[in-house]
């Protein structure tokens, strides 16, 4: 369980007036001296970690992890995918896909079928149980995201989502 460490620290002002804030021979105006949260990349890193944690705790009851969930979601939208395809699209190593699909097969949420044209490939398809699982857990998954984005109203969430999407399209498949 993650504690919320609000108690051990006084609240720091938003620094709209930053005249007298320099506390102790530290010049906070130097660019290399800016705080951690001043960097968007680091913010993304931290929030991404937290988002993954939330998702995993939400999934822990089902015995799956975020990676499995990502595979299921992708399969739900593609109706059968080669493992190679899962690898490139989800950004996971091919060797990781093996174990993930193994787990999903064990749970009965997906299965491998031989590809008709290429005996090297296997086609991973979502089973009916997999569809049911997605249907059942969908609402809970949305709750996780809603919990994370709690301080944002609907409009802000929309803009955040489009901004993130623009970044994602230019770097992830």
């Amino acid at each position: 369980m993650l504690e919320s460490p609000n108690t051990d620290r006084e609240h720091r002002e938003p620094a709209i007036t930053r005249q007298h804030v320099t506390p102790n021979a530290i010049d906070a105006d130097e660019p290399w001296m800016r705080g951690l949260h001043a960097d968007t990349g680091y913010l993304l890193y931290r929030l991404g970690l937290r988002s993954g944690q939330l998702f995993n705790t939400f999934l822990q009851a089902s015995g799956l992890r975020l990676r499995h969930y990502a595979v299921l979601r992708f399969l739900a939208g593609s109706e059968g995918a080669l493992q190679r395809e899962l690898s490139t699209r989800l950004g996971y190593d091919p060797s990781a896909i093996v174990g993930l699909v193994d787990d999903l097969e064990k749970q009965g949420f997906a299965e491998r079928r031989p590809s008709p044209d290429d005996r090297r490939s296997r086609i991973v398809v979502l089973t009916e149980d997999g569809r049911a699982f997605l249907r059942d857990t969908d609402e809970a998954g949305l709750r996780v995201t809603n919990d994370l984005l709690d301080p944002l109203d609907a409009a802000d969430r929309q803009t955040l989502h489009t901004l993130l999407l623009r970044i994602a399209e230019d770097g992830l498949g």
Copy 2:
């Protein structure tokens, strides 16, 4: 090869008339059927991963990692911090702080000093070399973030940053 599941933005109808659109026994309008990138939480997770990777590759020349850099940055703004403080503020486990400070001490970027009031605690302070390191690598660090946020203009980056900051303040220290 199976049909590549075209990125969802090409031939998805506005769905005003959703009578006959069901292409292949898949109803893409079902909420649990939405694509991976439709969920902001998952987007955050993926982009956070990517951001961390970029930062780490940028830091690999110096022998440090993102976590070390985070500690250095925090120390630069706080002029001495208990390890316990680093743990709660950076979100790392206390056991992780040990190794991080060890590494920073080996590189000469930080050092532990005994706390005058509590012999259990150690105060970690940034050395002059640590300050120099931050000064030297600051520009490169900014380039990493700029590279990540390439598809966004200045105004969009600003809004993204404030949005992320609002989320971060309500969940991270």
